[in-house]
C-alpha cells in the first residue's frame, strides 16, 4: 500500500484521481468485510461524492490539502455527521451523529475521505472484539483468532490494506494492543494531545483518540492534522504541535531506551520475550543506549485501571436510558422500569459487568477504599515514569503478553482478559504517549508488537524511534487476507 504522501502526490500530479483510489478501497472493504467483519458501515456514496469534490479542485487548492484524497476508516465510537455511531452496542439503536467530532472536522479540512465506520468492542470495553453486539472482527492473519480490541476493526482494516490509516480510541490499550495483534503501528497520544470532543466517552480521564497505519510517516501525517488545543474539550492541552514529519528522520543514535527486566518475566510468552530481546538488540545496532530501570508500581496498574475505568464508565454510561436517543425497550409501565429494561436489553454482558463494578466502587462506604485509593496509586505510577524519564528518553516493553489468541479462549474469564492490558494501561494511567510497532512474527506466523512509551508530549520522539526501527527491520510479510 502506498503511503499517504504517495497517494496525495500522485493525485496532485494528475497520475491518478481521488475517485480511483477510493473506489478501489471501497471494493476491497466490501469484499473483505465478508471475512473480516471490520466495517459496520461503508459509505460508498458519500466517499465517492467527496472524492469527486477533491478531484474537481484546482491544482492550488489540492496543494493546500495535506491529506488530499487519503482514505481513512473511523472507529464507530467517533462521531461523523450523518453516519451511524453505534459504539458496537445495541443501545444506540439507529443513532446517527448530528455533528462531527473535532478530529473529523480537522481531517476533512485536510482533505481525507471517510470510507466508513469500524467495528469495536461495545463501548470500547474489551481486548478481543468479542464484545461487539454485531459480531467480532476477525484477524486478517488468521481468521480463527481475535484482532485484539477494542479498536479491532480499525486495526484489521489497515492490516488488510483496505485503508492506509484509521482512527481508534485507547482507554487502556485499545489502539496499541490490536495494532500489535494485527501487525500494524498504533499510537496513543499524550492525554490532552488530541481533542476528545465527539469521541463517545468511556473512561474520561483515560480516553484518547489514536492512529493506526503501516508506516510511521502516515501516523505522523494524521497526528499533524488532529493534534492541538480545542475549545470543545477542556482537557485538550495548549501545547505547540511540532512538525512530526520533519522530526521523523532525525537520528536516534545516542538516545537512551529504558528496559524493565521485571516486565519481561512471568506471564509473558517465550515467543514475545524472544522478539523483544531481538528488538532491544536491533536498537543497540542503531546506536541507542539501553538503560535498565524499574517501575516499582507497574504491578498495580491493572487493579488501578479496573477501578478507575469502571467508575468513570458507570457514570458516563448512565446517559443511555432510552429517553433522548437510541434504543428504548417497549411497553414499560413506568419510567424506572423503562430505564432498567432499556439498559438490560441494550447492553451486553461486559458492559453490564463493568457498569456494576464501577457502581460498586463508587457506592457509599467504598469510595475511599477503592476509587480514591486507586487514584493515589495512579499518582505513584505517574511518579515512577517521571523518575524513569530522568534516566532515559523512552521505555521499551512488549505491547501484549501473547500474539493473537483464539476466539473463545478468554471470553469466560474476565480477569484473564483484563491481564492482556498489563503493558498498555500504565500509559493511560500516567497520561503519557505510547506506540506499538510490529517487531516480528511468531512461529505460527502471527505478528508481535513492541511498545515504546515516552514522556508527555513526546510523540515526535516515539515516531522517530518507530521509524528508525522499521527502516532497518521491516515486518516483511503481510496477512493472508489482504486487498
Amino acid at each position: 500500500m502506498k503511503s499517504i504522501g504517495g497517494i496525495t502526490d500522485s493525485i496532485r500530479r494528475g497520475e491518478t484521481t481521488a475517485r480511483a483510489g477510493v473506489a478501489a478501497a471501497l471494493d476491497a472493504a466490501e469484499k473483505l468485510n465478508e471475512q473480516l467483519n471490520a466495517f459496520l458501515e461503508i459509505d460508498r456514496q458519500g466517499a465517492l461524492q467527496r472524492a469527486d469534490q477533491i478531484d474537481a479542485l484546482d491544482q492550488a487548492d489540492k496543494a493546500g490539502l495535506p491529506l488530499a484524497g487519503a482514505a481513512i476508516a473511523i472507529k464507530d465510537n467517533i462521531c461523523v455527521r450523518g453516519m451511524q455511531t453505534s459504539c458496537g452496542s445495541r443501545i444506540l439503536g439507529p443513532y446517527h451523529a448530528p455533528y462531527n467530532a473535532t478530529v473529523i472536522e480537522r481531517l476533512l479540512a485536510a482533505g481525507v475521505i471517510i470510507l466508513g465506520k469500524t467495528n469495536c468492542d461495545e463501548f470500547a470495553m474489551g481486548s478481543s472484539n468479542e464484545n461487539s453486539a454485531f459480531g467480532a472482527v476477525r484477524n486478517p492473519w488468521d481468521t480463527s483468532r481475535v484482532p485484539g480490541g477494542s479498536s479491532g476493526g480499525s486495526a484489521a482494516a489497515v492490516a488488510a490494506g483496505i485503508v492506509p490509516v484509521a482512527l481508534g480510541s485507547d482507554t487502556g490499550g485499545s489502539v496499541r494492543q490490536p495494532a500489535s495483534l494485527c501487525g500494524v503501528i498504533g499510537l496513543k497520544p499524550t492525554y490532552g494531545r488530541v481533542s476528545r470532543y465527539g469521541l463517545v466517552a468511556f473512561g474520561s480521564s483515560l480516553d484518547q483518540i489514536g492512529v493506526f497505519a503501516c508506516q510511521a510517516g502516515d501516523v505522523a501525517a494524521i497526528l499533524q492534522s488532529i493534534a492541538g488545543r480545542d475549545e470543545h474539550d477542556a482537557t485538550s492541552a495548549d501545547v505547540a504541535v511540532p512538525d512530526y514529519a520533519a522530526e521523523l528522520s532525525k537520528e536516534v543514535k545516542g538516545l537512551r531506551l529504558g528496559v524493565s527486566r521485571a516486565l519481561l518475566g512471568e506471564g509473558l510468552s517465550d515467543e514475545v520475550r524472544g522478539a523483544i530481546e531481538k528488538a532491544i538488540a536491533a536498537y543497540r545496532e542503531l546506536g541507542v543506549d539501553i538503560v535498565d530501570l524499574e517501575l516499582p508500581h507497574a504491578k498495580y496498574a491493572i487493579a488501578v485501571y479496573y477501578v478507575i475505568a469502571t467508575a468513570e464508565a458507570s457514570s458516563n454510561l448512565a446517559r443511555y436510558d432510552g429517553v433522548r436517543y437510541g434504543f428504548r425497550a417497549e411497553e414499560a409501565p413506568a419510567l424506572r422500569d423503562m430505564y432498567r429494561r432499556t439498559r438490560d436489553e441494550g447492553f451486553g454482558a461486559e458492559v453490564k459487568r463493568r457498569v456494576m463494578l464501577g457502581t460498586y466502587v463508587l457506592s457509599a462506604g467504598y469510595y475511599d477504599a477503592y476509587y480514591l485509593k486507586a487514584q493515589k496509586v495512579r499518582m505513584l505510577i505517574r511518579q515512577d515514569f517521571a523518575s524513569a524519564f530522568a534516566r532515559c528518553d523512552a521505555i521499551l516493553t512488549p505491547t501484549a503478553p501473547t500474539p493473537a489468541f483464539l476466539f473463545g479462549e478468554k471470553v469466560n474469564d474476565p480477569l484473564a482478559m483484563y491481564l492482556n492490558d498489563i503493558y498498555t494501561v500504565t500509559a493511560n494511567l500516567a497520561g503519557i504517549p505510547g506506540i506499538s510497532v510490529p517487531c516480528g512474527l511468531s512461529s505460527e506466523g502471527l505478528p508481535i508488537g513492541l511498545q515504546l512509551l515516552g514522556p508527555n508530549w513526546s510523540e515526535a520522539l516515539l515516531l522517530r524511534l518507530a521509524h528508525a526501527y522499521q527502516q532497518q527491520n521491516p515486518l516483511g510479510a503481510r496477512p493472508r487476507i489482504h486487498a
Binding site: 448512565a318 436510558d321 456494576m356 508527555n456
Partner: protein, 99 residues
C-alpha cells in the same frame, strides 16, 4: 470482602440495570474475583500521596477543573429531538414517572 448475589441485585438497582437470575449467578463470583484482585492496592503506601485527578497541563501538572460559564451555540431543539425514541410537542415523552 465476599460479594453475594443479593449484593449484585442491589448494585444492579443502583446502576438501573435489570439482570436475570443467570446473570446474577454469573456476575457474583466474577465481580468478587475482580474486587479481590483490586484489594492488592492496599499493599501500596499512599499516606503521603495526593490523588491523580484532572487533565495534564503542558508541564504535566493538573488542569483547572472549572472554566468560564459562557453561553455557546448548541444543537437546537429540532436537531436535539430528531433522534428521540418518543418525541412529542417539542419534548421527550417518557412513561409515567410516579407508579
Amino acid at each position: 470482602m465476599p460479594i453475594t448475589e443479593s449484593d449484585i441485585e442491589k448494585i444492579a438497582q443502583l446502576a438501573h440495570l435489570e439482570i436475570t437470575e443467570d446473570e446474577r449467578q454469573m456476575f457474583a463470583p466474577q465481580i468478587a474475583e475482580i474486587v479481590a484482585y483490586v484489594e492488592q492496592l492496599n499493599e501500596a503506601d499512599t499516606s503521603a500521596i495526593e490523588p491523580a485527578l484532572g487533565g495534564l497541563t503542558p508541564e504535566g501538572g493538573q488542569t483547572e477543573s472549572t472554566r468560564e460559564d459562557k453561553v455557546q451555540p448548541s444543537l437546537g431543539q429540532k436537531l436535539a429531538l430528531e433522534q428521540a425514541p418518543d418525541a412529542a410537542s417539542g419534548h421527550f415523552r417518557v412513561p409515567k414517572v410516579l407508579g
